[in-house]
């Protein structure tokens, strides 16, 4: 086998093993899953591997001799010239994500690596492109983002529990993105339902750090600016302790240890009272 430490280019292999090594390298290119094709400096295709046939749908016979611009979607006329310009200067293009059009018209997402091909004297005589099909990868990336957004949507619901009262139960921790989304959602719901009271329940929040506490205070303040009363409910001893340690003063915030207790305050604010049907029938007065 060739001496690996001396492998500085195909020249070394050729000296030692002759034509056989050329065939070896050629088969590496042929067997690759990626599209590998060579072109002249004006974009005419010189070689086209099996990966390219599979990815683009064109056979080698169909592509060799044709301009590479055949593959480019009509909305990107300057891409190939720009790439070839870089190559002519001896630069490479790496991990360039773009789209190309297959023979059947389907538009695919690819990651391109384009490098200059030099002859024995070092002169740039063409460009070599390796294209990896990232359509699936991109689809998964987008699905993941979609799922993350769904989780975000689901975990910050704002519910109208009575005319004039909305409840926003916090689940889990509250990072900046969630907090922002939550605040917007809550305020929009308050306006939409014309509510006078918003109950912010933190029973489902396991840990509260400075940032979360800050977001909470901000939310409560913005609710007040809108013209509604915010009530913080579900403040457990652990959270109360953390907030005290953090030096956060909740003195000007109405708080209750449970959502039910908070609802009582809400009803009071709205001048409402819950009585049993018996009491109502008897015409009884207040509790």
């Amino acid at each position: 086998m060739a001496n690996r430490s001396k492998l500085s280019g195909t020249a070394a292999l050729e000296d030692i093993e002759g034509v056989a090594s050329q065939a070896y390298l050629a088969s590496i290119v042929e067997c690759s899953d990626d599209a590998i094709y060579g072109k002249t400096l004006d974009g005419t295709i010189l070689s086209w591997n099996r990966g390219a046939e599979r990815i683009y749908g064109y056979s080698a016979a169909e592509m060799v001799g044709r301009p590479v611009s055949v593959l480019v979607p009509p909305n990107k006329p300057d891409e190939v010239p720009a790439i070839l310009e870089k190559v002519k200067r001896g630069e490479r293009v790496s991990h360039f994500e773009t789209t190309r059009v297959r023979k059947d018209g389907e538009v695919i997402d690819l990651s391109l690596n384009v490098s200059p091909i030099r002859d024995a004297s070092g002169q740039i005589i063409g460009a070599s492109t390796t294209a990896r099909d990232i359509t699936e990868q991109k689809r998964m990336r987008e699905a993941l983002a979609e799922r993350a957004k769904e989780i975000l949507d689901v975990s910050t619901p704002v519910l109208q529990v009575w005319e004039g009262v909305v409840v926003a139960p916090f689940i889990g921790t509250l990072d900046t993105q969630r907090a922002q989304q939550f605040m917007e959602r809550l305020l929009d719901k308050i306006v939409q339902t014309n509510s006078a009271v918003a109950l912010l329940d933190v029973t489902g929040v396991p840990a509260i750090d400075t940032r979360t506490a800050q977001h909470l205070i901000e939310t409560i303040t913005s609710v007040r600016l809108l013209g509604a009363q915010a009530i913080l409910t579900g403040v457990r001893p652990a959270i109360a302790q953390t907030l005290a340690h953090l030096g956060i003063n909740l003195a000007d915030v109405v708080t209750r240890s449970s959502l039910a207790a908070g609802l009582r305050v809400a009803l009071d604010i709205l001048n409402l009272k819950i009585i049993t049907q018996e009491d109502q029938a008897k015409g009884a007065h207040s509790l």
């Binding site: 922002q180 605040m183 917007e184 305020l187 929009d188 308050i190 306006v191 014309n194 509510s195 006078a196 901000e218 303040t221 913005s222 609710v223 007040r224 600016l225 809108l226 013209g227 509604a228 009363q229 000007d252 604010i269 001048n271």
Partner: protein, 125 residues
Amino acid sequence: MTNQNISLVKVRNTLLVTMPADPDDVTVTTLQEEVLGAMEEYRPKGLVLDISAVETLDSFFARTITETSRMVTMMGGQTVIAGMRPSVAITATQLGLTMVGTFTALTVDRALDLLTHLHPRRRIR
């Protein structure tokens, strides 16, 4: 060019002032002057400042509102800020413009109710 006119009407012994969408500094200063003038003329029991059209709230505007509110109180009235948009509320909070000591209401309707004691009074500290 957005309409920089402040609308000022007397409704039910209350001053109803409506701010335009993007008030510049001159308009904001005019607000205070007009309010104080009207307070003297009509002696209303309250001022409702309708900012439902306002899209951006800067610190000058916020400060002027708080100041005006204090002046109205000194002249025997009560101020309620009505109709702040969610986006404005969020920005104001993040900029620390919390306008402590002012009453707020979701709508002009609510604001008027608040001033005429139809709703129980909620002291918003």
